[in-house]
Every structure is written in structure tokens, then in C-alpha cells.
């Protein structure tokens, strides 16, 4: 699992570079993506459903992305797009259109439905987290600062 975390961390950073995220934020992007992927794997092992695992991971990623967005004072998109990249059904989209071109309509249909379900569950996860008011994240951020003060001074 640790290897998977590291690999997902690296993958997310590569994607962040291709999307021209500012270099200082690479670490945070990588962390978002890495944790999201590990959550996906853990839930997938537990309940063996791609859609639910993606939902859980999307919730985690969006939540972390929002925390980082408040903390780093940046738009949440930066962490969200790079973090969510390892979850998005890129392979599914590819297989769907590939099967279609290959005249394998049954497989294409199955893959297509799965792909759309995953996309919907990601959007759903993001939406749920976006309903949480910004105040709570500001509060979380302030709490962290206070803790740090206690620790260091």
C-alpha cells in the first residue's frame, strides 16, 4: 500500500506539472492524489465496488483539496483537478470507444455504463463536499494554527 501511495503521489505530481500548477504546490497536489488513491484501493478491497470506492475517494480528495485551498489561499480547482486525476475513468472512456470501433457492442455498453457511473459518483462526491460551507474550512484552518502555536511557542 505504501508503494501505491508513493506511485500515486508521483503520478499526481506529473499531472500537476502537465497542467502547469505552480511548483510550490506540487507537494500538496501529490498528497491529495496519493491519499485519494489509497482510500480508493482500501474501500475497493473492502466492498469490491468500483463506483462506491470512487465515491469514497472523491469525497476524501475534495475534502483535502478544500482544506489545502483555504490553507494555501488558492482556487480549489488546482488541488481538485490534479488530485482527482487518478480516479477519473480515463481508461473506461478509452475502452468504451475502443470496443465500439471493434464492433463489440455488448462490452462497449457495459464499459460505457460503468464509466458514466464512475463519472457521476465523482461529481456527486465533489458536490457533497462543496455543500459544506466555507466557514467550516476557515475554522479548521484556524484551529490548526492555534495548535501549532501551542506546539512551537
Amino acid at each position: 500500500m505504501l508503494i501505491q501511495l508513493v506511485v500515486a503521489f508521483i503520478a499526481t505530481i506529473s499531472i500537476a506539472l502537465l497542467f502547469d500548477v505552480p511548483k510550490i504546490e506540487f507537494f500538496y497536489c501529490g498528497l491529495t492524489g496519493g491519499i485519494g488513491w489509497v482510500v480508493y484501493l482500501l474501500v475497493f478491497e473492502g466492498i469490491d465496488s468500483k463506483v462506491l470506492a470512487t465515491l469514497a475517494a472523491a469525497l476524501t480528495v475534495s475534502f483535502i483539496a478544500r482544506i489545502f485551498a483555504v490553507r494555501r489561499r488558492l482556487p480549489v480547482t488546482i488541488f481538485l483537478i490534479s488530485g482527482i486525476f487518478s480516479l477519473v475513468p480515463g481508461a473506461g472512456i478509452y475502452y468504451t470507444t475502443y470496443f465500439l470501433l471493434d464492433n463489440k457492442f455488448a462490452e462497449a455498453f457495459n464499459k460505457g455504463v460503468e464509466t458514466i457511473s464512475i463519472a457521476i459518483s465523482i461529481s456527486f462526491g465533489i458536490m457533497i463536499v462543496f455543500f459544506i460551507p466555507q466557514k467550516i474550512f476557515l475554522l479548521l484552518n484556524n484551529m490548526r494554527k492555534k495548535d501549532e502555536r501551542k506546539k512551537w511557542y
Partner: protein, 278 residues
């Protein structure tokens, strides 16, 4: 009171209302209008969400004293109408092509709008800053090539490939962005660029696999093309549908399908060609 007097009185009343409503215009009206539109354009072009585009434009306009502004943004265009001073009306429709993301610019525009609201920029200064943001370069060509390779290898491993598969994916990923860098600045149609890119990647994967590197050809190819597949676009599209932006959602969806079909065509042409030749 005759008719003319009534009309005059009504007009005067309206003018008073408008003057009460509008704050002090800070700067040249035309400049404000162009600034607001430009801010929205840079955001949308580089991957800002629809609601962020609309919000940012409204916030900037309100700060410079614009009374009423209406923005309607879709994935590839902005429609904006503004009235400044109660007598200056302007409408513009701006087409913004769907392009690759540059989140650094989105971050900078966001920062700029925050600073504008804090009162740190006059209209002219903000415009200068916006022009600077628009020209922030992409990551260097070699960095993009290298990280495309690393990303391909990492995704290949994550999607179930072995270490040897990842190695082949790494090489194919390098070639993918060498090609993408080559097309940049030349007027390559998007679909063609992606089809050729996918074919190239498939060719290299098959060749290396044929020469005995890597285990599963499927895993190698899927890892190598992951930088092309429109997963983010599909998710954005569904998010737009959920937000009620049906038009924006449809545009992203069509874009997703176009890109996905191009990739599959590229891959499948190359596989068939290889099987035919051998």
C-alpha cells in the same frame, strides 16, 4: 401638467434612481469593461470553472463601480452585458476555445481579483497585470516530456501493470509529449493531433513489446495514453449538468467524446496495421 412634462418628470426620476444606485466609477468605463471581460477570458481559457468565471467577473466589475452586470458563460464562450454610469451600455460575446489547462494562470487571476477587491490596483494596473498573467509560460518542453514519461509509468503501475510494463510506458510517454510539443504553435486540428499521438504511442508500445519488453500490451497502452484521455473533461461535464449548466455540460461532453474517439481510432488503426503487416 401636459404630456411632455410628465415624460420629463419620469425621465428625471429614472436618472435620479440610477445615479443613486451607481457608486463612483473608478476609471475609464471602456477600460473597466475590457478588464472584466479579459479576466473572465483568461480564467475560462485556462481551466477555471464556469461559476468561478462568472463570480470573478461580477466581483471585479462591482468593485470598479459597475451597477449592473450580467454574465453568461459556457465551456467555450462568454456573454456579458454591463451598464456603467447609467448611460454606458456594452455587450460582448467572446469565443474562448477549449484548450489545455494552465492552473497557474487560474491561481494568478484569482489572486489578482482578491487584490483588486482589497483596493491595491487601479484599472490600468490591473490590465497590465492581467496581460502579464496571460503570458506566463508553460512548463519547459523537456520538463513536460520527462514528466509525461514518469506520469505514464506511474499510471501504468497503478492500473495494474508490472514494473516492466511501466518501463515501456515511460518510453512511450516520452515520445507522446515530444510529439505534442512539436504540434504546439503549429495549427494542428485537435482531433488529428490526438489521433496521431495515440497512434505513435501505440506503435512504440507494440514495437517494444514485440522486441520482448514488458508483459501486457493492454496495460502498456492504457498507461501511455492516460495523459491524453479526457477523464477530467468528462467529470467536469457531469458536474456542470448537476449545477444546471446544461449547455456547458453538453459542450464538455461532446469534447470528451471527440477526444475519446480520436484516441481509440489512433490506437485501433495502429494495432490493425501492425497485425496486417505481420
Amino acid at each position: 401638467m401636459n404630456e411632455q412634462e410628465i415624460v420629463n418628470a419620469v425621465i428625471e426620476k429614472i436618472n435620479v434612481d440610477i445615479n443613486e444606485q451607481c457608486g463612483e466609477i473608478k476609471g475609464n468605463s471602456d477600460m473597466i469593461f475590457r478588464l472584466v471581460l479579459k479576466a473572465g477570458e483568461v480564467l475560462l481559457h485556462n481551466g477555471g470553472e464556469i461559476f468561478r468565471v462568472e463570480q470573478t467577473m461580477e466581483i471585479i466589475a462591482k468593485h470598479y463601480g459597475v451597477v449592473s452586470i450580467d454574465v453568461y458563460a459556457v465551456s467555450n464562450g462568454i456573454f456579458v452585458t454591463m451598464s456603467i454610469d447609467g448611460n454606458y451600455f456594452a455587450t460582448q460575446i467572446k469565443e474562448v476555445p477549449i484548450d489545455s489547462l494552465h492552473l497557474g494562470r487560474v491561481a494568478e487571476v484569482n489572486n489578482l481579483s482578491r487584490n483588486i477587491v482589497a483596493g491595491k490596483y487601479s484599472v490600468e494596473e490591473a490590465m497590465e497585470e492581467l496581460k502579464r498573467i496571460e503570458k506566463i509560460p508553460k512548463a519547459s518542453d523537456w520538463a513536460r516530456v520527462l514528466f509525461s514519461g514518469i506520469g505514464s509509468a506511474a499510471f501504468c503501475y497503478m492500473l495494474g501493470g508490472s514494473i516492466y510494463d511501466s518501463l515501456v510506458s515511460f518510453i512511450a510517454g516520452l515520445f507522446l509529449y515530444l510529439f505534442i510539443n512539436f504540434t504546439e504553435g503549429r495549427h494542428f486540428p485537435k482531433a488529428l493531433k490526438i489521433t496521431i499521438g495515440a497512434s505513435l504511442v501505440t506503435f512504440i508500445s507494440i514495437l517494444l513489446h514485440f522486441l520482448g519488453m514488458g508483459d501486457s500490451l493492454d496495460q502498456i497502452i492504457i498507461g501511455s495514453i492516460i495523459c491524453l484521455v479526457p477523464g477530467v473533461a468528462l467529470t467536469t461535464s457531469v458536474r456542470n449538468f448537476f449545477n444546471g449548466d446544461y449547455l456547458a455540460g453538453t459542450i464538455s461532453l461532446v469534447d470528451t467524446l471527440l477526444v475519446a474517439t480520436s484516441i481509440s481510432v489512433g490506437v485501433s488503426i495502429m494495432i490493425r496495421l501492425w497485425n496486417y503487416i505481420l
